[in-house]
């Protein structure tokens, strides 16, 4: 009974214990919001920052392309498209 109740509450609030918390943008789900913590790739980080993706700014995962890659994010008021491997270099706090 308790198990069913818990499952119901989890489902109600869309809590998924199997899915770990997102550590980078590639792991985020559509609509999820996080804060840019840093970058794991120095070369790409400059390009990302030039495009408006700055440490400390809020970042939202909007949606992914039909085959799951690339993905569309919103950051600093800009909408950017990134490939998954590039999204994976952006670490986030949430």
């Amino acid at each position: 009974m308790l198990a069913i109740g818990t499952a119901y509450i989890f489902a109600l609030f869309k809590i998924n214990l199997n899915k770990p918390m997102a550590h980078n943008v590639a792991e985020m789900r559509p609509g999820e919001v996080g804060i840019v913590a840093g970058f794991t790739d120095e070369h790409l980080s400059v390009k990302l920052m030039e495009m408006g993706c700055l440490p400390g700014s809020a970042i939202r995962f909007n949606f992914s392309a039909p085959f799951g890659d690339p993905v569309c994010i919103s950051v600093s008021g800009y909408e950017l498209s990134l490939r998954l491997e590039e999204a994976a270099t952006i670490s986030i706090l949430n």
Partner: protein, 706 residues
């Protein structure tokens, strides 16, 4: 005022900041495309009248996000801005930023200011910013940056008078640079300034940071920079991230000081609703293919009316000149070489104009970036990039503008592969060849009641070209090995209603580029071919009439019939005919004889010349009486002397179709590839692989069907 004393004003800004609207508004139809000396890339410039009545040259530079280049387009801007001593160096710079979101535009702005060129800031889209509830203190902004600031709206021209007025004044250079160069870099910067006479710290710093953008320096000077870099152990790229962060922290302080009111909606809403439909996993592709279908429909169906008109017009001019001018070499050259050559270029103008009308609209609305987004994953599997889609689509009209459109692809390998495979897309010059061959070998019947077999065959040829392009790209992906990483960090711009005058200017610009680029070469080759086809060794050409009369003593020929036979006789004994006969052993395995050989050679000016050559060689009079039916009937009646059957069997016809699909029979394309890749290596590789592909495929097709 002479051209040299005219002030040069460069427009710099992010992509989608409204830079081209501003350029079009300032220059109107006074635009021209030339080349930057040194860099082999086109320069878009135009004249405008400033506030005090003087004229200035406005230069439109490609849109960039930062002074550190990644794609070819961006490198051009870096090279022009770094080379202060060149005569082409701009006197003043207008940096245009998107007023609805200043951060990123300001990053570029602070870099430009630090380069030490007189700069004006134009804040664009202030109407949209106001609508979103934002407002800024321009006086404070101008004071903090130390440069003039002008709010404008480039879509309807508001604020341009003020901008023009500011451009007549002397612009003060800000005293303090935004970015303070690191302690470690001070010594090498000083060394560069002393050795090369660079007059600004940040410019000298860029010399150290950008070894790849210093093509304007002489080789000894480049070595000086290299040795300084070595002596002080300066590694390019090491401080870029830190520099960007320092600039953004300055910008954040600046924004805090000048923002009077911030907008309240954080995430853009409108675009996401449209994106939900246009980027749907099924619907998105259906819409995209629907748009593609519409474009092809337009290119092939709607363009035929103006094309027929142009074709008829040049045929008439040619005929008229031949009839009125006194007979002679020059009038023959004019009527049979140059005029048809120009006609051969002009006939493609409607298709190219229509294609670029569509592409410009798709780009203006912001949809093109979504196409890149949709196609990237698929294209990447074949060694291409989402951005390769535009060149490949354009290739259906003409490979020349298509190859020029590859400049936006940042990754060198993906760009090169796109350039190499684009000519496999069936361009409009192949269409006349396909049409006549298909009419010859495919019965005009319906399959399953409603599919026209000839139509299916034509569609099959286009598909074949596309499949060949994709597969060749995949093979090249495996063959070309580079370390450079591929990425797709791209902006998805907000959807907008297109500005129709911008669409018009794009059509004009692309068509002009095509006419000039292809035009030079097609005319040159037309003249060469005319010489090859009109002259021959020995005196058989001069005695053509005599010899034909002798041969046909017993035949009762009409005047027209006689002239036709003379023309065919001349062609057979000309240099072109000799070459055709010389290559006959080579093309025999493909099922061709020397007459087809001549057509293959003349096709090098433009593929559609095949039809004209066929008409002459099968002596049905001048091409201009062009009933395709007569050419077709003649070709059908042609007998293969070896078999006694018809010359154009299905085997020969399909072999020719395949050959024309794959072969690189376009000098203009090779010339453009040479220019875009800055060398002969890639055009030669392209010529070689396409010729081999064409030959081998045609051989297999012929041997299988024969």
């Amino acid at each position: 005022m002479t051209a040299s004393s005219r002030p040069k004003i460069a427009l710099v800004g992010n992509p989608n900041s409204g830079k081209s609207s501003l350029f079009n508004y300032l220059t109107g139809l006074n635009q021209k495309i030339g080349n930057f000396p040194g860099v082999t890339v086109e320069k878009k410039s135009g004249l405008t009248t400033l506030g005090d009545g003087s004229t200035a040259e406005i230069i439109d530079l490609p849109g960039i996000y930062s002074i550190y280049p990644r794609s070819l387009d961006e490198r051009i801007v870096a090279e022009i801005l770094l080379d202060h001593h060149a005569p082409t160096s701009p006197d003043k710079i207008v940096v245009i930023v998107d007023g609805t979101n200043l951060k990123r535009g300001f990053l570029l702005l602070t870099q430009i200011i630090d380069l030490g060129l007189p700069t004006i800031l134009a804040m664009n889209m202030m109407d949209l910013a106001a609508k979103a509830g934002m407002s800024y203190d321009f006086v404070e902004l101008s004071k903090k940056l130390g440069i003039p600031v002008v709010p404008i709206n480039a879509r309807n021209g508001i604020g341009l008078d003020e901008l023009k007025k500011q451009l007549t004044k002397t612009i003060p250079l800000p005293q303090e640079p935004v970015f303070t160069i690191w302690k470690e870099a001070e010594a090498p910067v000083l060394a560069i300034r002393e050795r090369l006479g660079v007059d600004n710290n940040y410019e000298a710093y860029q010399f150290l940071e950008q070894p790849q953008s210093l093509k304007f320096l002489s080789t000894p000077n480049q070595e000086v920079v290299q040795s300084i870099r070595k002596r002080f152990e300066f590694f390019p790229g090491k401080f870029q991230g830190a520099e960007t962060i320092q600039r953004y922290s300055f910008i954040q302080d600046l924004l805090n000081a000048i923002t009077l009111k911030v907008s309240d909606n954080t995430w853009k809403k409108n675009s996401s609703y449209i994106d939900r439909i246009l980027l749907h996993r099924v619907g998105g592709y259906l819409i995209f293919f629907g748009i593609l279908f519409l474009i092809f429909q337009a290119i092939f169906a709607w363009a035929t009316v103006p094309m027929d008109f142009i074709d008829g017009f040049f045929a008439d001019v040619s005929k008229y000149l031949a009839a009125t001018l006194p007979r002679g070499v020059l009038s023959s050259l004019l009527a049979e070489g140059i005029i048809p050559g120009i006609g051969g270029i002009m006939i493609f103008v409607p298709q190219i104009a229509i294609l670029f009308a569509f592409i410009a609209v798709l780009e203006e609305t912001g949809y093109m970036a979504r196409v890149v987004f949709l196609m990237d994953k698929i294209m990447r599997k074949f060694g291409l990039n989402g951005k390769s889609v535009v060149p490949l689509i354009s290739g259906v009209a003409c490979a020349i503008p298509a190859i020029m459109a590859t400049r936006t692809i940042d990754n060198w390998k993906e760009r090169t592969i796109t350039i190499l495979v684009t000519p496999l897309m069936s361009c409009s010059a192949r269409l006349p060849v396909f049409t006549i061959l298909i009419a010859l070998i495919v019965p005009d019947q319906k399959a399953f009641g409603f599919f026209n077999l000839q139509g299916l065959a034509l569609m099959g040829m286009y598909l074949l070209g596309f499949v060949a392009a994709i597969l060749s790209a995949w093979v090249m992906k495996l063959l070309i090995r580079v370390k450079e990483r591929s990425y797709l960090i791209m902006e998805l711009p907000t959807y907008r209603i297109p500005k129709w005058s911008n669409v018009g200017y794009t059509i004009l610009e692309k068509t002009k580029a095509f006419v000039l680029e292809a035009g030079k070469i097609i005319i040159a080759i037309s003249v060469i071919l005319w010489v090859l086809a009109s002259y021959g060794p020995g005196d058989s050409i001069d005695r053509a009439r005599e010899l034909v009369l002798e041969e046909n003593q017993n035949a009762r020929l009409t005047e027209q019939g006689l002239e036709d036979r003379i023309a065919a006789f001349k062609l057979e004994h000309s240099y072109a005919g000799r070459i055709g006969k010389a290559i006959e052993p080579l093309i025999k395995p493909l099922g061709y004889d020397w007459k087809i050989g001549i057509a293959l050679i003349t096709s090098f000016a433009a593929r559609e010349v095949f039809v004209g050559t066929m008409a002459t060689i099968y002596s049905i009079g001048s091409v201009n009486e062009d009933d395709a039916a007569t050419i077709k009937d003649r070709m059908r009646a042609e007998v293969n002397p070896v078999t006694g059957g018809p010359r154009f069997t299905p085997a020969v016809g399909f072999s020719l179709l395949v050959f024309y699909t794959f072969a690189m029979q376009c000098m203009s394309t090779l010339a453009v590839v040479y220019r875009e890749t800055r060398g002969w290596k890639w055009p030669m590789i392209q010529l070689a692989y396409m010729t081999v592909l064409a030959y081998v495929s045609a051989f297999i097709v012929y041997q299988l069907l024969a």
